[in-house]
Amino acid sequence: MSGGAFGRLTDPPASIVVVGARVVDPAGQTDEVRDVAVVDGILADGPAADGEQVDGRGLVLAPGLCDLHAHLREPGTPGETVASGTRAAAHGGFTTICAMPNTDPPLDSADAVTGVLEAGAGASCRVRVIGAATRDRAGHEMADLEAMAAAGAVGFSDDGASVLDPAVARSVLESLARIGLPLMEHAEDAELAGAGVMRRGAYATRLALAPWPPEAELAVVQRDLSLAEATGARVHLTHLSTAAAVDAVRDAKARGVKVTCDVTPHHLALTDAWVAGSRRFAWEEADPHQERAYDGSCRVNPPLASREDALALLAGIADGTVDAIATDHAPHPMERKTGPFEDAAPGLIGLETALSLGLAAVEAGRLDLAVLLGALSARPAAIIGESRRLEAGTPADFVLFDSAARWRVDASALASASANTPLVGMELPGVVRMTVAGGRVTFRAATR
C-alpha cells in the first residue's frame, strides 16, 4: 500500500490550516503563496486559528483533480473495484472520477448507474457514472438515456468502441441535445482499425506489429463533429491520440460546434517508441532497446502515439483546444499483460501517475503549471457540471503536492488493485501530500 492513509467521503469534515503553500487556482486565475484554512470542511475566509496546522511551504495547493475517464471494473470485470480505484484516485490527487460503462454487464440502465453510485458513496473519491449510450453497449439500439440521466449519469459512452451505427449515434445525439449531457465518444472506426495493435509508423514496421492507422480515429471524429453540428448536442471526444483529430477539433470549435475533448497522460508523455523499449518521454530523444521491447504494459487503445502526435497533443492543451487530461485508467490483472504483445489486454493504469506525467511536461517546459492544473481540474469538472474554485464558503476540495519531489513507481506501493503500467520502476516528479474531497481528507501521505 502507498505510504499514507486513506479517508472516505463519509468521514467527519476536516478542520485544517495549510500554511504557506503556493495556491494555484486556474479558474480564479490566481497563483499566490498564502494560507488556506478549512473549518468543518468549508474553505474559510481569511486566516483561521483553529484546526491542525499543515506546513505547506514549498508545496503547491490546487483544486481537486477531476478525471473524466476511469475504469473501475464494477460490476463483473477483474483488475479493480470501486474501493481500490477510488483509493488510487485519492492517492493521485483526484477528488472526482467518472466510471466508464464497459463492465459486465455494461452500465446501460438506471439500476446499474445507481449501483455504482451507491458503491462510491462511502469511497475515497467522488464517483460519477458515464452510462452506456446503447443497449448492452452493442451500438445498435439506444439505451434509456433519460432514465440513466435521472439516476445521476453525467454523460454517455460506448467506451471501448464508438457508437457503432452512425444512425444510432445521430439518435443518441438528438436525445442528448434535449437532456443536455454530452456523448463521451471513444473515436475509433473499428473496420479501419482492423487488427492494428500499434500506431502505424517506423517503429511498428520495425517491430512487425499490426499497424493501427490514425485515420481510424479521424473518421469518427469527423462523423461526430458533423452530427454535433447537425443536432446541437454536446460531443466530448475522449482519449484523442492524433494531431489530425486535435486539428479537426480546433477547426470545429472555431465554427462554434459544441465539442470538447481530452487526451490521456500516456498519449502526451509516452510514444510508440515505448513499445520498442524506449523509456524516454515524448519531448526527449527515444532510447529503444530490444530486450525491453514488446512489453504488454505498453499495449493500449488508442495505441501510444508518434512523437509528432504527442507534441501536437501538448500544443493542443497549451492553446486550449484540448479541454482536459483524462486518465483512461484501465486496470488489468498481470496475467492479461504478460503474454505476446498482440495478445495483451489494451490499457494501462493512470490515476496515480497522471499528475506526475503532467509535471514532467511542466519541468520540460512543455506545459505551464496553471494550464496543466486547469486541464486536470476546473476544465474537466465543468464538462460534467462541477466547479473547481478555491472560494471561501465552498466545500474544501484540493490537492496538496510537492512538484519537485520524486518518487519511484513501485508496483506493490500502488493503491490500485493492478499495476499494469510501463512506468513501474521509473522515477517521476510530483508527490501528493494530501487530498481533500468535499471537505474530507481522503489521502494523507505518511510523514517523513
Binding site: 514496421t205 512487425a208 530486450e291 504478460t338 505476446p340
Partner: protein, 307 residues
C-alpha cells in the same frame, strides 16, 4: 581441429534479433561458423555444450530451421528436447510463458523458440532465466536465417561493403527480410527492397534501404538477389499479378552478371521464382541450407560462453 578460444567476449545473453549486433559481432558469428563447419566435418567439439539442454519450441511449422538447430546442438554435445506443440499442454491452452517456465524447470538452459507472435522471444526472455534464441517470431525477425544468408553471401561475393543486395517480394510480412536488412546494412552493404507498393512502402526512410516498385528497377545492377516466400499460409493476398514479380533467368539479366539468387525456402515454385532459376547455377539456395547448421552451432556456442 579444435576451435581456438575467441579473443573477444560475447556479451549477449540471448539472440532475439539481428538488430543490436555490431558489424564485428556479425562477422564473428560468420568466422566461427566457418570453423564450426570444419569442426563438424572432423567430428570435433563434440563435448563443447555437453552441460547444456537445448529446448526446441516451434509453435509454427518448420523443417530446415528446427532440424538444423537440433543437429547443431547435437554436434556440440548438447542434450536436445523437442516440444511437440500439437502433443503438448499448449493444446490444452497453456500460455506461452507458463510453458516456457515449465521447460525451464525441467532443466532446459537454452530455448530455441519459433512463435507466430512478433516479440514472443522478448516476452519469454523477460519471464524466464533461459537463454533465448529466436527461430522466427511473426513477421519480425529470423536472426539465424539472416546470419546463414550473410555467410552465404560473403562466401559468394567476398566482402559486402558497398555491394547492392536486392530483396524482392513481400517484404512487409517477412521476418527474413527484416533481419537481412539489419544484417546487410550493418556490414556495409546497400539494400534495395523491391515489390508492389503495399509490400515495400512502409520501409520508406529505413536507414540504408532503397525502395523500388518495379522489378526492372529493383534488379538493375544488383550484386545478389534475394527472393522471399509469399506468406500464403498467413492469408497474404497476392497484390496485382504474381507473374509480374516472378524471378526468372531473363529478368535476372537486369542484375549484375552472374549475380547469385537466394531464397530462404520453402519456395512456392512458379509463384516467386521459377524452378529453373531456383535449381540453376546462380542459385545459392542449397548453400543457405547447408550454412544453417554451422551458423546455429556458432550461435549456441557463443550464447553459452563456450566460444
Amino acid at each position: 581441429m579444435t576451435v581456438a578460444a575467441a579473443p573477444r567476449t560475447w556479451d549477449h545473453r540471448h539472440l532475439l534479433d539481428v538488430e543490436g549486433l555490431s558489424r564485428g559481432e556479425l562477422e564473428r558469428v560468420c568466422d566461427l561458423a566457418v570453423e564450426m563447419r570444419e569442426a563438424r566435418a572432423a567430428r570435433d567439439n563434440r563435448s563443447m555444450l555437453e552441460a547444456e539442454t537445448v529446448g526446441l519450441a516451434f509453435y509454427e511449422p518448420s523443417t530446415r530451421t528446427r532440424v538444423s538447430f537440433e543437429l547443431a546442438a547435437k554436434a556440440l554435445g548438447a542434450t536436445t528436447v523437442d516440444l511437440v506443440v500439437a502433443a503438448s499442454s499448449v493444446e490444452k491452452g497453456e500460455s506461452l510463458v507458463d510453458t516456457a517456465r515449465t521447460l525451464e524447470r525441467t532443466g532446459v538452459t537454452t530455448l530455441v523458440l519459433r512463435h507466430q507472435s512478433a516479440g514472443a522471444p522478448q516476452v519469454v526472455a523477460r519471464a524466464t532465466g533461459m537463454r533465448i534464441v529466436n527461430a522466427g517470431d511473426g513477421a519480425h525477425a529470423h536472426p539465424t536465417q539472416a546470419l546463414a544468408d550473410l555467410l552465404t553471401l560473403r562466401e559468394a561475393l567476398g566482402p559486402l561493403d558497398g555491394r547492392l543486395i536486392t530483396i524482392v517480394g513481400d517484404v512487409v510480412h517477412s521476418r527474413v527480410a527484416r533481419s537481412n536488412i539489419h544484417a546487410l546494412t550493418s556490414v556495409g552493404a546497400r539494400v534495395r527492397v523491391a515489390g508492389p507498393r503495399g509490400w515495400v512502402a512502409d520501409f520508406e526512410g529505413w536507414p540504408g534501404v532503397e525502395i523500388s516498385t518495379t522489378l526492372t528497377d529493383g534488379l538493375r545492377g544488383a550484386d545478389a538477389v534475394m527472393a522471399l516466400r509469399v506468406q500464403l499460409e498467413r492469408g497474404v493476398q497476392l497484390i496485382g499479378e504474381a507473374a509480374d514479380w516472378r524471378l526468372d533467368s531473363e529478368r535476372m539479366e537486369m542484375a549484375a552478371p552472374a549475380a547469385p539468387i537466394l531464397h530462404p525456402g520453402p519456395t512456392n515454385e512458379g509463384v516467386e521464382i521459377t524452378s529453373e532459376l531456383a535449381n540453376g547455377p546462380r542459385s545459392l539456395i542449397g548453400r543457405q541450407v547447408e550454412n544453417g547448421v554451422p551458423v546455429r552451432m556458432a550461435v549456441l556456442a557463443l550464447l553459452a560462453g563456450a566460444a
